[in-house]
């Protein structure tokens, strides 16, 4: 009995995780696959039973949000998708072992850049995650990653940048020229997990110095 090749039904079943928002995605090998439906199951690594993900049974879209089901960042999970075509052909594919702690990427921080006459203040806002602590409050990235820190850079001109950094959230670049435009970039780093966010960029102009006008 020659096993039928059904790889065209289903490919690339994987988790995409960003700030602990864990989305399962997959592809169909066919250019258009109107008559294929997909069903998702998941489980913790080490457990026997696969659990059906409610809301992702016999769906036609190619993604499923498993954030709540994979919410323990100290745990390891698997998910699998079964594709079923109208003609009765089916294929099932499983993800690699998933750990959101290891796999999640970090989005750019949320920052408020406040121009003054001779300085620019930058306030980094905490990034909350979908992960809840025992008492129900949402953990921030700083709660999850103890070695998280911020790196800030202010482009003064083509050859000169100023740098600040640390774990605190309030920074100020001082000694700047009034009424001048600057480009600020702020990134998040998590050394232990070799994670680095894309930059948040703000373009701000210092205020004119009214003292001399």
């Amino acid at each position: 009995h020659i096993a039928e090749d059904t790889s065209d039904l289903l490919q690339h079943v994987k988790f995409q995780s960003s700030n602990f928002e864990n989305i399962l995605t997959w592809d169909s090998g066919l250019d258009s696959a109107p008559d294929i439906v997909y069903s998702v199951e998941y489980k913790k690594y080490g457990e026997r039973e696969w659990l059906a993900k409610e809301g992702c049974q016999r769906i036609t879209r190619k993604s499923c949000n498993l954030t709540m089901e994979t919410g323990n960042f100290m745990e390891f999970y698997y998910a699998r998708v079964t594709a079923l075509s109208a003609g009765g052909r089916s294929a099932t594919k499983m993800t690699d072992r998933f750990s959101s702690l290891q796999h999640t990427t970090i989005k750019p921080p949320d920052v408020t850049c406040i121009p003054k006459v001779r300085s620019i203040q930058m306030i980094v806002h905490p990034t909350s995650t979908p992960i809840r602590a025992g008492d129900g409050h949402r953990l921030s990235l700083e709660d999850v990653f103890s070695d998280l820190f911020y790196r800030l850079e202010l482009q003064v001109n083509h050859t000169y940048q100023m740098h600040l950094g640390g774990k605190q959230r309030d920074y100020e670049f001082t000694g700047l020229t009034p009424d001048t435009e600057f480009l600020g970039t702020i990134m998040i780093f998590v050394p232990t997990w070799s994670k680095e966010s894309a930059p948040y960029v703000c373009r701000v102009k210092t205020l004119p110095d009214r003292m001399w006008t």
Partner: protein, 155 residues
């Protein structure tokens, strides 16, 4: 610099991030070979709620097991040179840590060491219930679970 503090046992000179980088280089390959998704060797009962004093006994037993049983003859199976380099980094660092751990042998520590031994035996029995090849592959693929736990003692 940073060091491991497993209760009274301190280990300097090991950079945890290097261990992570070494394991990440081979993680997908190793874990993809483990298709027994319903068995986990380093289960919660082995690693959860380990006291500081217990941790030194437990980590020493686990690292020695990895060196003597899991990593043994794995190096020659690692055909890919990138994997071989990562594998050596991991094994060498495990050896350094294990050799620096000197848990107390005093009588009053007997109950603590016994508790650590029971935890280790849970892991070892689960390992022995699998075919040796599958067990080595699974244990190798669970190094990230071990490193995640070790990180709590890295300051």
């Amino acid at each position: 610099g940073q060091e491991f503090q497993f209760g009274p046992c301190r280990v300097e000179g090991v950079v945890l991030q290097e261990l992570w980088e070494a394991f990440r280089a081979m993680k997908d390959i190793v874990q993809a070979k483990d298709n027994i998704t319903s068995v986990r060797l380093l289960r919660k009962e082995v690693l959860q709620n380990v006291s500081d004093t217990e941790s030194c006994y437990l980590i020493r037993a686990l690292l020695k097991f990895y060196l003597n049983t899991v990593f043994k003859n794995s190096l020659d199976k690692a055909a890919d040179s990138r994997i071989r380099k990562s594998f050596s980094t991991l094994a060498n660092n495990f050896f350094v840590i294990a050799s620096k751990l000197q848990p107390s042998q005093e009588k009053e520590m007997f109950s603590t060491s016994e508790s650590a031994r029971r935890r280790f035996l849970l892991f070892q029995r689960a390992f022995q219930q699998l075919d040796i090849q599958a067990a080595q592959t699974k244990a190798f693929g669970e190094v990230d679970i071990l490193l995640t736990w070790m990180e709590k003692f890295y300051q």
